[in-house]
């Protein structure tokens, strides 16, 4: 019913290499939905302060920015950001260089883009721009990883890309009654176990305090987070982590920080850093002092039980729990959401659709086997909605 205005006045054009700091923060964030915190302006600027500037792709309409993303090169060795390990069973030039779209080390990505009727067109232009950028600089193609599966389907459709299921993320809907509301849905055994974990935490003299960024000591936080990372095979060091936190302060991300801290007497024994954004609390960093021989379930108390009550009391409706330790999270009521990467090669060689579909179905079965009863409805899309384009 609404006839478009003159088409020539409304065409999109795209460009490369604008600096993030030269773009208007609020204009950028108008493209960022509640679910896309890790592509919000301040988060991306924080990464730049800590790790250096990156190129930015932008798509503009006559009235301003309509889509945008930052770029990076992914990881170069096995880990969370290593493309060959995501796609080992799909033929493709995966050992060559690929361009990565989205914030560095993001494990949740959405395309920052206008909503509505022209979203498809704006995403398509972003895809063209990414293709040109990749081709000009000798990349074999580009990927946007860790996208919610349904968003990946739409992006792939717009750019002629391929959807490859490669990860999953845990999240919890927060009822108004917080933890007790979540527990009420559990079987008795799970309830008893969680109550006993919380009781142990208290019996061992631990308590929880919530802190804003101004009350946090970055050096101590970095120390605890680094201890946790090295315990689980991570390589980042204390200085790296401190740089990340300092970048967040400079960029104003600390405005969104809510940290759950466990204390015994006056000693901080662990912390989980959350970011509040839109209607969700996003868990990002856990750190603990492992020099203390404490079996007090602080990880679960800080990352799970306490935040449910905190979220409910502060009007948040979702707890986003990231991609690690899924088994432990589903045992405590989390749902698992499928995450896909969208890939496109730029040499004209399409990615084999059949192989991608087979890969996706196999990955679906693995998750179904391992997490039966805990998968959210989006997994049904994997079967019902094979890749749309090739």
């Amino acid at each position: 019913m609404v006839v478009p205005l003159r088409d020539d006045a409304r065409a999109f054009c795209s460009g490369v290499s604008e600096k993030l700091c030269e773009l208007d923060e609020h204009e950028w964030d108008a493209l960022v939905s509640d679910e896309n915190f890790y592509n919000s302006y301040r988060w991306l600027r924080a990464l730049e302060h800590a790790l250096g500037e990156t190129d930015v792709l932008t798509v503009r309409g006559p009235a301003g920015l309509v889509a945008a993303c930052t770029l990076w090169n992914g990881g170069q060795s096995p880990g969370l950001f290593y493309l060959p390990s995501f796609v080992a069973d799909i033929p493709g030039p995966w050992q060559q260089k690929f361009l990565w779209l989205g914030g560095r080390r993001n494990t949740h990505n959405g395309v920052s883009c206008i909503e509505g009727r022209r979203r498809f067109e704006a995403q398509a232009e972003l895809g063209r721009c990414a293709s040109d950028y990749a081709r000009d600089r000798g990349y074999a193609g580009f990927v946007m990883p860790y996208m919610p599966y349904s968003a990946a389907l739409k992006f792939a459709d717009a750019i002629g890309g391929t959807v490859i299921l490669h990860s999953a993320e845990a999240s919890l809907e927060v009822p108004e009654t917080g933890l007790s509301g979540v527990m009420a849905r559990w079987r008795k055994h799970a309830r008893v176990q969680s109550k006993s974990e919380i009781a142990t935490f208290r019996r061992l003299g631990s308590r929880v305090e919530w802190a804003a960024a101004v009350e946090l000591d970055d050096s101590l936080a970095a120390d605890l987070i680094t201890q946790n990372r090295s315990r689980y095979g991570g390589v980042s060091d204390h200085e790296w982590m401190q740089k990340i936190l300092a970048g967040q302060r400079t960029a104003g991300v600390s405005h969104f920080v809510n940290a759950a801290i466990s204390k015994r007497n006056d000693d901080i024994t662990a912390l989980t850093i959350f970011y509040s954004f839109g209607t969700a609390l996003h868990a990002r960093y856990f750190g603990a002092n492992y020099n203390l021989d404490l079996n007090d379930f602080r990880y679960f108390v800080l990352s799970f039980y306490e935040p449910l009550d905190y979220a409910a009391a502060n009007g948040f409706t979702k707890l986003r729990l990231s991609t690690s330790a899924l088994r432990a999270k589903v045992k405590r009521g989390a749902k698992i959401e499928p995450q896909a990467l969208v890939a496109k090669c730029v040499d004209g060689q399409p990615i084999c659709q059949h192989s991608a579909n087979q890969h996706n179905l196999r990955t679906l079965r693995q998750y179904q086997d391992e997490f039966a009863g805990h998968l959210c409805r989006d997994w049904e899309l994997v079967e019902s909605n094979p890749n749309l384009t090739s």
Partner: protein
């Protein structure tokens, strides 16, 4: 509720925010609206068709109690939510009018939203929605297209926009479409709006339950005598493209 008409706004969040600095809004519309609203201390206010939420933010900063912004366009709501979040303003921005909002508000503000009703039943429904949100005795302030806006397509060009009736021979035809082109910094796109006559507006508002309707012309309130206002504003002040309608829920 017409999502197609509000969908037009998805890519215009930043330019609408920017528009608050354009002289016709900054020196005429915005001060006129605030003067008409008066003291907001502790009032519960719903900004209907809130766009980027700038009125909602200002009202909150001026001491309003509960402030809710309502809009159908996700692009506008994203802007509004992100900005209020960064400015630590406790405003909820919603795309749905839940039962908990009905009859709650001392004031409903609807700036440039009635022109996006595309049919008479939609106009009626929008007015009914606005009035239903107000407590009995609560006030509505809304800004439609002025019933006698200047129909020369270029009249408002110095102010950053053009208002172009689809049928230039008949610019005041009730329910007709007008094109709003944005041209402050080159051609910046535009949206369609719908012209409603004074009679249609009054009838729709009264049928929705609004009483004591008053029409208030916009003025440059910093200048009690319009002739003292900067010359650039004169043409707008002579034929403003909008007007305030105020009323009370009976």
């Amino acid at each position: 509720m017409n999502t197609a008409s509000s969908d037009q706004f998805n890519e215009y969040a930043s330019i609408y925010e920017d528009m608050s600095q354009w002289p016709f809004r900054k020196y005429i519309e915005i001060p006129s609206v605030f003067q008409e609203i008066g003291d907001v201390d502790g009032l519960s206010i719903l900004d209907f068709g809130c766009g980027t939420g700038m009125y909602a933010r200002w009202l909150k900063q001026r001491g309003a109690g509960q402030v809710v912004g309502y809009d159908l366009t996700e692009g506008m709501l994203n802007y509004a939510r992100r900005r209020a979040e960064k400015e630590d303003l406790d405003i909820s921005f919603v795309s749905h009018l839940g039962p908990e909002l009905i009859g709650q508000f001392d004031l409903v503000l609807g700036v440039y939203v009635l022109p996006y009703a595309t049919t008479r039943p939609e106009l009626q429904a929008m007015c009914a929605d606005m009035v239903r949100l107000m407590r009995p005795g609560g006030r509505l302030l809304t800004l439609p297209i002025h019933p006698v806006y200047d129909p020369h397509p270029n009249y408002y060009e110095p102010y950053g926009f053009r208002l172009i009736a689809e049928d230039p021979e008949n610019p005041y035809a009730d329910g007709e479409r007008v094109k709003l082109e944005l041209c402050k910094n080159g051609e910046q796109g535009g949206v369609f709006a719908w012209y409603w006559s004074a009679t249609s507006l009054e009838r729709a508002l009264e049928q929705a339950g609004l009483r004591s309707l008053k029409w208030r012309e916009l003025s440059a309130s910093a200048y009690p005598d319009a002739n003292q206002a900067p010359k650039e504003l004169h043409a707008y002040l002579q034929r403003p493209h909008s007007i305030i309608i105020e009323g009370v829920r009976g």
